[in-house]
């Protein structure tokens, strides 16, 4: 009897207009980012298509930049969905890079060892961040802001104290033939591009020692990492038990705790994952460019957060999508490089960025309210 009664209720609600099924199917967290991506591509196809932006090297170029953003955005996204955020990402990038360089160049350890140490330290610091947030109950804004300063200060101090420089070069040479280092600095599918160049689809170098090789040497490992992390993050978030816990921890930590979700563990792990992504970023950068500097990663935390927020995640946690964050990173990268291609005064880039952020968030808010019934 109780059944019939409340069963009837949602059906015969004459007070709400129904949504069309089409509209319902479209409405998803990353909708805003999808629209944004389409708009951005249309825009640049319109104004910069003859500038080489969509030639193979051009694509690799903004692709790499977007991949960079995506790597840290995935970490920031999962952490944000778990209800916290991390302002120390940028400092962590500088820190990890310097650690790797110090171990390999300064102290002569093999590159794989330096990399492992950097990852171990990053995970430890990420864990410490999380531990402090959980134990003290302070907002993560404060705790990670403290680490923004602490890590940057340490990085400068260590590198100056040991090498009297804030930039440490020669990592590439030191990492030559290392069993792990190529995973971060190498390029893959070179064969494919040689073939494409022979077909004339990709240009060839015409001068210097590389004459005859294709202008695109291969897909940088950075992109491979970005794809791996996006797929991993997406599957973890949407297809696994742990993903459900991430949503739960961010949606309402107390409620989640009460039904047995190990919220503290989830949050600490996400802080560690965010630090892990930052270290991937740092390692790729160090291995590709062969040097580490104390100023690497400045303000990257904001860029990660912006990508995630453009991608539709909720700043307060419990809602978002890794695919959205990846699209946010793509938009970010395409706009940044595209404005260069289009020849816009570079200082205006920030103005564009700010405006895109505002518009994206307003759109996302509207979409989210439709999905979650939030008011």
């Amino acid at each position: 009897m109780a059944e019939t009664q409340s069963a009837a209720a949602p059906r015969k609600d004459e007070r709400i207009r129904e949504m069309s099924p089409m509209r319902k199917a479209l409405i998803r967290p990353e909708l805003g980012a999808i629209c944004g991506t389409i708009l951005v591509f249309m825009f640049f196809l319109g104004i910069a298509s003859d500038s080489g932006m969509f030639a193979p090297e051009g694509i690799i170029n903004w692709g790499t930049v977007s991949a960079q953003f995506a790597i840290i955005a995935v970490g920031a996204c999962l952490l944000m969905i778990a209800g916290e955020f991390d302002l120390s990402v940028g400092s962590m990038i500088g820190f990890s890079g310097v650690i790797i360089a110090l171990f390999t160049v300064q102290w002569g350890f093999p590159a794989w060892f330096g990399i492992l140490v950097a990852f171990a330290m990053a995970l430890a610091i990420g864990g410490l961040n999380g531990y402090l947030v959980i134990k003290t109950g302070l907002p993560s804004f404060i705790v990670t802001l403290a680490f923004l300063y602490i890590l940057r200060g340490l990085t400068i101090f260590i590198s100056i104290a040991t090498t009297r420089k804030t930039i440490i070069g020669g990592v590439r040479e030191a990492a030559e033939g290392d069993p792990i280092a190529w995973l971060f600095g190498g390029k893959v599918f070179s064969g494919l591009f040689v073939w494409l160049a022979d077909l004339g689809i990709v240009g060839k170098f015409v001068a210097g020692p590389k004459a005859g090789l294709p202008v695109v040497e291969g897909i940088p490992m950075l992109m491979i990492w970005a794809i791996i992390l996006i797929v991993f993050g997406h599957v973890l978030l949407t297809r696994t038990r742990f993903g459900n816990w991430i949503f739960a921890a961010g949606g309402d930590a107390q409620a989640a705790r009460y039904v047995g979700v190990p919220v503290n563990r989830v949050k600490i792990l996400m802080f560690m994952f965010s630090a892990f992504c930052a270290t991937i970023f740092a390692t790729c950068q160090v291995m590709e460019f062969g040097s580490a500097a104390a100023d690497r990663g400045l303000l990257k935390e904001f860029e990660a957060i912006i990508s995630v927020v453009i991608g539709g995640a909720l700043l307060t946690g419990g809602y978002g999508s890794v695919v959205g964050a990846a699209l946010g990173a793509l938009i970010f990268g395409v706009v940044q490089q595209g404005l260069f291609f289009a020849g816009v005064e570079s200082s205006l880039f920030r103005v564009f960025l700010g405006v895109i952020l505002l518009l994206a968030v307003i759109l996302n808010t509207y979409i989210r309210r439709m999905i979650t019934g939030e008011r």
């Binding site: 170029n61 930049v65 420089k165 930039i167 500097a293 100023d295 490089q337 260069f340």
Partner: protein, 289 residues
């Protein structure tokens, strides 16, 4: 006509020193009838700069002008650009050898360490024994090299004599004052540009030490010129950035049009601006000087 060149610097958006170069490429572009774009990493992150060079190469310009702020980071993208058949001229930081290794046509500039060392030699001649290097952008590698060169020329340890001053003028001023109060035997100051030079001037003024300390700085500005005339600043190291912007554009244009190019690198500096030669410099300080 209508050739397109891209100049890529390593400086963050707001670095005032690069205005001279921006103005130079505007002038050169106008005179030559070519288009010159100025690009830089917004936050001064050199890894971003590498991306910008790659991007510039992808847009197939008639030439690229770039600094070698960090050889490790930039050699790859720059030599790729060379290999694509794009003429490259390197400017500003970096050395001739590095420029050659990359395969660039030439280098127009002055290495940071040597410039610092030159400043240090002058200071040593003036009897400086204990100094303060005011570093307002410590995270940038070139800055430390300047201080290091200065220290090496004096033959003293750099150590705590280089301070991380930050970019806020009041803080720079206060930190300089604090340092000088804590280390009253300091008799030499080196600042790395107008950002740190102006507050340091104010600090010395407030402490009544104007003119009693041997003061050298990098780069020029109206205030610095004024202080040179007033005997407060002994010299400003001028690498004549105008030339670093102007010459490459002219050379690349001529290369593109007539295939002519000089065979050697050009040293645009170091020029030492002192009271003796300030008059001419002053007029255009900050814009063309």
């Amino acid at each position: 006509d209508g050739e397109r060149f891209v100049l890529v610097s390593h400086a963050p958006d707001s670095d005032s020193w690069w205005n001279t170069i921006k103005n130079a490429i505007t002038v050169a572009g106008g005179q030559m009838g070519v288009e010159v774009e100025y690009r830089n990493p917004p936050t001064g992150d050199l890894a971003d700069m590498a991306r910008i060079i790659e991007q510039a190469a992808a847009s197939n310009p008639n030439g690229i002008i770039a600094t070698i702020a960090d050889y490790d980071v930039l050699s790859g993208p720059l030599s790729n650009a060379v290999a694509k058949g794009i003429p490259v001229i390197t400017i500003n930081s970096g050395t001739e050898e590095q420029s050659k290794k990359i395969g660039a046509l030439m280098h127009v500039g002055q290495p940071e360490y040597d410039a610092g060392k030159g400043a240090g030699e002058k200071a040593k001649a003036a009897g400086v024994t204990s100094f303060l290097c005011v570093n307002h952008y410590i995270t940038n590698p070139a800055s430390v090299e300047r201080c290091q060169g200065y220290a090496d020329a004096l033959g003293v340890e750099l150590g705590g004599q280089m301070i991380d001053s930050g970019q806020d003028p009041a803080e720079i001023k206060s930190k300089v004052m604090a340092y000088l109060q804590g280390n009253p035997d300091t008799n030499g100051v080196l600042t790395l540009g107008p950002t740190s030079a102006h507050p340091t001037l104010a600090a010395l003024e407030d402490m009544g030490k104007s003119g009693t300390i041997h003061f050298g700085t990098f780069d020029l500005s109206g205030e610095i010129a004024e202080a040179i005339k007033g005997d407060v600043i002994a010299f400003a190291i001028d690498q004549q950035p105008y030339l670093q912007g102007y010459l490459p554009v002219v050379i690349l244009t001529n290369l593109a049009r007539y295939g002519v190019v000089p065979g050697n690198s050009i040293n645009s500096g170091p020029g030492f601006v002192t009271k003796g030669n300030i008059a001419l410099v002053e007029k255009y300080a900050g814009e063309y000087r």
